[in-house]
Symmetry: C2
Subunit: 150 residues, 2 copies
């Protein structure tokens, strides 16, 4: 998983048209505006499918870590395929993005997830302080192989 975290004065977005892999959304998800937002542009990668739970946990831990420093009022999970050239399947991506949203909610974070698979217009204002633009590659160490011999 590649993430790009932008600490923003505001993020606004509107869905414009669907791609073939667009998720179904309620009308209230067709646009939004968030102030003092940590926008987490996220590309879920093929490797992440091997252990979705661990990737979710690791991504959320990284987001919480940055949040504790920049203190946003909102955390926004923004699907962003353009950060990787080795993408997961759309279904795996949606599951992992939703998993991140759930886990951040559990942690008490004001989190919103932007619709997956839609063309969107957006406006963002990056604050420009040294922690306002960060990128991370999230990987999970392979689990120890079960030993074949006793």
């Amino acid at each position: 998983m590649r993430i790009l975290l932008i600490h923003s004065d505001y993020l606004r977005y509107k869905t414009k048209s669907k791609t073939k892999i667009a998720e179904k959304i309620e009308d209230e998800k067709k646009g939004g505006e968030f102030d003092n937002a940590l926008v987490v542009f996220t590309a879920v990668e093929r490797e992440d499918e091997k252990d979705a739970d661990a990737i979710i946990e690791s991504a959320v831990s990284e987001i919480m870590n940055v949040s504790s420093q920049v203190k946003p009022d909102n955390v926004i999970i923004y699907p962003y395929a353009h950060l990787s050239s080795s993408l997961s399947s759309p279904d795996a991506a949606k599951n992992i993005l939703k998993g991140m949203e759930s886990k951040l909610k559990e942690e008490g974070v004001a989190v919103s997830r932007i619709p997956f698979g839609w063309y969107k217009s957006f406006e963002i204002s990056c604050k420009g302080h040294p922690l306002s633009e960060l990128s991370r590659t999230i990987t999970v160490k392979p689990k120890e192989e079960e030993k074949a011999e006793e």
Copy 2:
């Protein structure tokens, strides 16, 4: 090289503070505003150092190709290390970014290059049409090895 091309209603930026690798800039470069802009967020990669001229040519050709479709009034080269985890040296990056600027100028494009190595605030408005967000990996095929035998 990784590039992310955003066709934008506007881009505004201000330099905030220097990093250790900041380029020297004139006052007029400390901020700017551009309408109907194709913003080319660019990460120069280690591999690109092997053949800077070819990478510049290939990147410019890709930018011209997208420009011919979205018809921006301005093309903005925006250094963006966050698009890659395998960056070139800062000097190589600056040379290649400057090379892209020069070549686009030669082609008659209204091009501006955003300062390298500064923390910056910025505002951008992505139009949201299907060609308004594109990413590309620019590589150069290795040159044919000189044959050792006659």
